[in-house]
Symmetry: D2
Subunit: 325 residues, 4 copies
């Protein structure tokens, strides 16, 4: 297996999936939405089948369907990466191969959710990643879960991953800032080519400053221009500008995450806001998620109004991509 | 849908699955093992595709294969219940229907592991259980996860479940003893027919005394006679006898759970001990689990030797079940 | 230093402290209350300055005052043990010596609350206990905190304590049942004379059955007869009787702990209930605790009414103790 | 009570306390050390009796002694603030008044450690802060504990504090970055004059960028110039410079906190490093803390050597302060 690392520095939206009333994928809207995202300068690639893409509620065949559609729509202009999430290694290999067949240019390998409940043995994670990475010919982005989950990888485990051929990047979701700078430095010292992508929507700027080669975040599927400009300002060491953008970003994250309040799921809120702004046609979520209630929707509408920098997209003007051949 | 509650008081082993070297199911050994378990007086039913049965590492088709084999082997003499574990509601319904088709007389419905990571909305769990229960014609046993996981159900949620037609029992794995007696009393007051099954292998006696209608535990797939006698002594209020059996049980749980030590997974230890005692032909576990190392195996062998009450099974004398027709 | 272990099997109430309106100790009522408690057959000793005795809100001199009063009142008929709670070792030694001077026949040594925040080094706890135990001539009861706190002692640490001269008992508040039976067996195997006292008010019976030499609990300062009879039934292996008493105990613990509900502090609830039953003259708590509101008080009153087995004490008939000399 | 807020933006070292072999305060060295710290341009005030100052191991009279010495030494040139840490409100008021008498120009009010174990009622914290603040004539800095402790204040509680006369600043130790920017904005919107001081030694830069008016940190008692320059660069929006300093800071924090390794207490490591650099005469810590072992000391020495920017202080050249009058 020879793999050239196609994971570049940059901004990777973890995209949402629009559904029809019967919960099937709204193919036309998914195309339109992907196309819209790909039109932003600074968007480096799209990630389908992430948590934002409701991977946990999609059947295996539906995950492939989503990958195929997005690849068909924007695959010519940017890489499409697909999440892989299964609890067993054998099934993970199946899904990784399916993603490759569907046209993905990389996989985002999530940890076995079995570990969330029972934790993991020493060496178990390394073997898991190695088994999956060696069964495909596209690169692997490791999804690091929060430090307070039993599925989170230790610094030592992360170091073992970056030595595995095919592992190209880490989506760093540790959410323990006391480890961020340390892990970034240690990983880069041991594997200079590895890309460390922040996945912290709600406090992106601090992570960019402590060390990040880009961002792989759901928020970039909602406000792509804002996220790109924040990443750029941080890369340019333009702190004054970064803080200004951060003030806007805060308005958006407050609406989505509702800091300190009893809160519905962020995914549902983001989908609702995206429908209100015409970015998606519907805000239907797949069960077990349930729709937001009226009060929650009203709060989002109010918050959106306060975000004067956000504008409805004009969906009709988004031209479909014509695969060139 | 009319459902008669076939979940009786009693002891339900969550059985292991023996594998061949290529990780395929060792069908012959699975039959032999199921048959052996079913021969014990006091074993009320068998549970396949539980955590002990490595459900998280089995592909969907393999889960059905296991159910079919065990149903074929012992389905005439006792109910076989199959675990259902998916993260999405739609896929959970698919799996539940497949279990019914495969001959299961009930499902053990695990929570969406998505919740382990993200938690759940009010009402989300009730809708999830209702959707699955109403899509099949066999009863549902709810699997309650430990209180310190975000997938654990509140007392209020449990109360909402027992009103759903088809919900017949709760596998009570809360592992927070301050809630046990309370939940037991409140659930029984609201749904007198519900069965509350303890799933606490490592301190079964206290849960039986605080209130339980039986046990659904992996340990009963390893030492079925011990578990049955402990449950009986507790039901008979024979505390002197129960404490004697509990002393033996402690020897076994110490070997499996290694209280307070850095420990390999209990599932692997149990499988290793079962191979040593001739209960299973192999102790192969499916990845991402990895085999125990030599030191760990030596410790188990020593501990087994100390458990003088445990005897090798004579595998040749276990007669296969001939389906009667 | 020669120490004979005076900590016997039995029931030790961790007593409350009644306050006057100006937050000073209501000395007369404290005497009356201690006298009442000491009149119950089966009460083995009294513990002052425990969490139930609001030790954290009492100034050092007030802690001694409480010890002196209770020793003066009941010291002739049963041992009085005083809690010692400081964050530094040197101050803990000061307080331990003061308790001895005030007449305590033992101390209940709580862990440094500094550890709750920062955790502890290997060997730190052993040295702390050894330093305090060697500075006094009365025995030490170790207060074990819940396993989920950073101040909780590992099995290894507990084993190191029971080898220290002067350590006579452990108030086992681990509240992790998977460790209870293991710790009990291991400690008894290494130090047969050590007393393991349960401090689990809300599920006392399970701990008694897994192994306990008695109970050191706040609830025994409220319903002493109930607690004594429960401990006796468990010691006698009379499970039928124990379960009957347990049903009553549940009524009381439900009122105090309000399982699964947003709840005020148990200490305040217990004090309020004790005032309603005439056991204490007032239910004043020291700040930072704040009084219960009207709704909370109404709920307690309702719950008390439902506990038909509880009776008001006739305070006038409680004769004061006359120190014999 | 009329209080003018003397808590300015800036850098406040939480200073260490040197001890003699008999654990008494090394008064001469404490003077020398305070004087040294006060000589740095950018150091705004000194905080005694913080966690770095081993408050939990100091008897009440010793806490006052430390305050008096440091006030006597540097009180003419900068404010000295004293930590107050008691579990009861009444004793906290005693200590706060004693701090004022000893010459402190403010108190750092820590939460009751009773809350670490048992949590707190609604309104309890507000009453606690109000009671203490109203009993003195010097301002109060609120010490916010990490979000994962039960003593941590909610955004709502923090908002209730900043309305209390006398509350001048918050030492923001939430250590949950998803709340930092939100809390900063909300508190400033409601109380523009409140000072939000970061207390996050190990990732100071991110907190400065998300919003902070300075830093109240132990690390500033060890490397005052580094901390001052980092804060200045952040205030100046000079990200390039800030990142350079941050690289040095990382070397120091790695030595102190040993990210991801089994680690001794940071306080002991810092004291050991300070002795090696001649900043303190001894590295004796008060029990229950125990001295670092040889291996730990060797690691610190190695790490110090790698920090080429750190230099031994020339203790002889530090001139004592002569109180002017």
């Amino acid at each position: 297996m020879t793999v050239i690392n196609p994971i570049h520095k940059g901004v990777y939206p973890a995209i949402q999936v629009p559904f029809n009333d019967d919960y099937s994928v709204d193919q036309e809207d998914l195309r339109r939405y992907s196309r819209w995202l790909s039109s932003f300068d600074g968007i480096t690639g799209l990630v389908v089948n992430g948590h934002s893409g409701e991977i946990t509620s999609l059947r295996p065949s539906e995950r492939n369907q989503v990958t195929e559609i997005v690849v068909d729509e924007v695959g010519e202009v940017m890489p499409v990466i697909s999440g892989v999430l299964c609890e067993g290694t054998l099934e993970s290999i199946d899904h990784a191969r399916d993603a490759e067949k569907a046209g993905a240019k990389g996989i985002l390998l999530m940890p076995s959710h079995h570990w969330l409940r029972f934790g993991k043995h020493k060496d178990e994670a390394e073997k898991f990643v190695r088994s999956v990475a060696s069964s495909i010919n596209i690169p692997v982005i490791i999804h690091q879960y929060p430090a307070w989950t039993k599925a989170s990888y230790s610094t030592e485990e992360l170091l073992s991953f970056v030595k595995i051929p095919g592992v190209a990047a880490i989506k760093m979701g540790t959410r323990d800032m006391s480890r961020w700078g340390h892990d970034y430095r240690v990983l880069k010292a041991n594997a200079p080519n590895i890309q460390i992508l922040s996945c912290v929507d709600e406090y992106l700027l601090p992570t960019l400053i402590e060390g990040a080669d880009g961002a792989l975040i759901g928020l970039a599927g909602f406000v792509p221009d804002l996220m790109v400009s924040l990443v750029r300002a941080a890369f340019d060491n333009n702190l004054e500008e970064a803080k200004k953008i951060n003030d806007k970003t805060y308005q958006v994250t407050k609406m989505i995450y509702r800091f300190g309040e009893p809160s519905g799921s962020a995914h549902q809120r983001m989908k609702a806001a995206m429908k209100m702004l015409n970015i998606l046609r519907t805000d239907i979520v797949r069960p077990p998620l349930i729709p937001l209630n009226k009060d929650e929707l009203s709060m989002i509408r109010e918050d959106l109004t306060a975000c004067k920098f956000l504008k409805n997209i004009e969906r009709d003007k988004i031209t479909y991509h014509q695969p060139s051949f």
